[in-house]
């Protein structure tokens, strides 16, 4: 019929035309003249959302700042988030959706390590550039894959730093309180390696559940072992209870915490007992506390963009990583391809506003963040005590 043929020919003309347009504009997947599409893979909901969603809020704030000043070589940054609910199965699905359906240029994200590990094969097979923001599993970037980078301290770094600190402070009897879930193990195993490296053994090795109501049993056992230092590998929910109960039984060891309690002042407020953390130092991925004037600019931007949120260390992960990626995109040049990005990122050192040291990637080392900072309470306020570069 005449009308049907007419419709058919119009449609095919349109199809061919659109293919030409698409063909011309999409020199690289996810890149057009106007925008760069970047995907975020990570946990957006549930108890671990701060490692994902909050970090991505920080990243998006950095992207927005870049967009406001004209974007990267005239292209606006568009950020698409997909939830992996901290589960391996979901992560594979989310990665595939970002890569094959959203067709992103690169992936900027990665929260729970097991989820990221599950997504890795797909990302490796499709050669999509990936800058990891919060996953700490070392096997993600070791051995080096040309297009995978991380701006987060490796899990082993905090553990090694903790043991080293204990040794440097002259502690002879060191105990451990650690979570044994997926997150905890990524720090616990290197912790045991670090002990071996220094030729010492923990005098007590206690497990704490992520959601305890009471830790008196743990505190008593460690006290009975006469430990003079306790290394804490726990999230605040557990760490609060542990410190609280050690205080209750009148036991005051030197406590060495990790990033999760890096804001010692906030941690003390959470415990609700002033003075309970006088003897606690914590190592952190971030170089400043959330209310340090040095990061005031970002605090203002984040709290304006996400009203109702309080600026915290998880936003800062995102800000550091965001600054790194923005700079790498800039260096990759106007003719933006995935190869160009990889090359730029593999030879880049960026001094971010929130980390204690620069983010530095080299062709042979994609573990780009290596500087930890120590925090403790000085006269009731959290102060940075030292920075250290961790090696093994």
């Amino acid at each position: 019929m005449k009308s049907r043929r007419h419709v058919l020919s119009t449609m095919s003309a349109a199809l061919i035309a659109s293919m030409c347009v698409v063909g011309a504009a999409n020199a690289e997947v996810g890149v057009t003249d106007k925008e760069i599409k970047i995907g975020a893979l990570g946990v957006l909901t549930g108890p671990n959302a701060k490692y994902g969603n909050t970090v991505y809020d920080g990243i998006e704030t950095v992207y927005e700042e870049a967009n406001k000043s004209g974007g990267i070589h005239g292209r606006q940054l568009v950020y698409v988030r997909e939830d992996d609910r901290c589960q391996a199965a979901e992560a594979v699905g989310a990665a595939k959706k970002l890569i094959h359906q959203h067709k992103v240029f690169m992936i900027h994200g990665g929260a729970c390590s097991n989820a990221s590990l599950a997504a890795k094969p797909e990302i490796v097979a499709t050669k999509v550039p990936w800058v990891i923001t919060a996953s700490t599993a070392p096997s993600l970037t070791d051995p080096v894959t040309p297009h995978i980078f991380t701006t987060m301290l490796a899990g082993w770094m905090e553990s090694y730093a903790q043991v080293q600190y204990a040794v440097e402070k002259g502690m002879k009897r060191v105990a451990i309180i650690s979570q044994h879930d997926n997150w905890g193990r990524s720090r616990y195993d290197p912790l045991m390696d670090a002990f071996k490296l220094h030729g010492i053994e923990p005098v007590a090795n206690e497990e704490i559940v992520p959601d305890p109501a009471d830790a008196t049993a743990i505190a008593l056992r460690i006290q009975a072992a006469k430990a003079d230092a306790v290394i804490l590998v726990a999230f605040p929910k557990a760490a609060v209870v542990a410190v609280r109960d050690m205080y209750k039984i009148g036991y005051k060891p030197f406590m060495i915490g990790g990033s999760t309690v890096g804001d010692v002042g906030l941690f003390t407020k959470n415990i609700g007992i002033p003075g309970s953390t006088d003897n606690l130092h914590a190592v952190s991925t971030i170089g400043y506390t959330a209310d340090d004037p040095a990061v005031a600019k970002w605090k203002k931007l984040v709290e304006a963009k996400y009203s109702g949120d309080t600026f915290n260390i998880y936003h800062m992960f995102g800000i550091a990583s965001g600054q790194f990626v923005v700079e790498a995109l800039r260096r990759a040049g106007k003719d933006l391809t995935r190869d160009a990005f990889n090359k730029a990122a593999s030879n880049l050192s960026v001094n971010t506003d929130v980390y204690g040291g620069p983010i530095t990637c080299t062709p042979t080392n994609h573990q780009c963040h290596n500087t930890a900072a120590w925090f403790g309470l000085v006269n009731g306020t959290t102060k940075r005590l030292a920075t250290t570069t961790v090696t093994r």
Partner: protein
Amino acid sequence: MQALLARRNIVAVGIIVFAILPTFANAYIVFVANLALMYILLSVGLNMLLGYAGQLAFPNAALFGVGAYTSGLLRLEFDLPYWITLPAGAAFATLIGLAIALPALRLRGLYLALATIAFAQAALWVFGHWNSVTYGGAGFRVPPMDFSPLPLDPSTGIYYLSLIIVLVAVPLGWNIVRSRIGRAWVALRESEVAAETLGIDLTLYKAYAYVISGLYAGTAGALFSALLGIVTPESFDLFQVIVHFCMVIVGGIGSLWGGVLGAVILVGLLEVLRTFRDLQEIAFGGLLLFTVLVVPGGAIAMIKRYLPGWNEPLRRIGKKR
């Protein structure tokens, strides 16, 4: 028109769609379809225990996990090929299903529910703490499946393997529920006392229910470990249990084809929920409530009302009040 939408035809169309999917859909869609196939297995198995036999039991996520861990570990530690690890995983899960059946036989109703929830949590604890065997909380990577001499890459290979297994397992299940075993299940679901007076050996048939649903769950688990390439304890937590139950209820409890439908619907739903971002939990809970309040018979009940050819014998679950 109604005859066109008869079950036979819809199922045939479904099979064809699944069979040719990898040729035209992107890798993401194929992955989701593969998950759907796996969940169909789980759902059919669970429906036998829950819907037909009427046992309010929650062990399936744990058995799913046992299947995944067993087949994954065999592949990792001993480098065995898939045609050994898959059946081994399924078999081991079936054994564990039998082991649970023995104490579970004495319990019913809420006691059974609580006992099996406790078992599910205990199993999760074992997965996460038995470091020497299961690698504890960290989980482990499973080397990709090798499908040589067939020219298949791992993901396509797993997809078609899943499809073949489903094409065998679902008709098998259909035969089981229409056989003496299925009728015995319905009898003991409606009234254990009456069933016993009819000479039905309660112990035997309840054990069948646990064992068969364990077989299905274990097979699904083995496929899961191959599909993901990684096995971690959190994949088998209580949320999984809830998802399995949702599939059965949303599809239509006590109906095998309802189970199949429910699996497909729920997998699609979980992907659609992604768009809700922050509000996923609210959406999920709301949907569950909606189904239970508005369409308690599940999707199957709605379909049956309008289309013939979807009837199944012994479908309705007994009313307790």
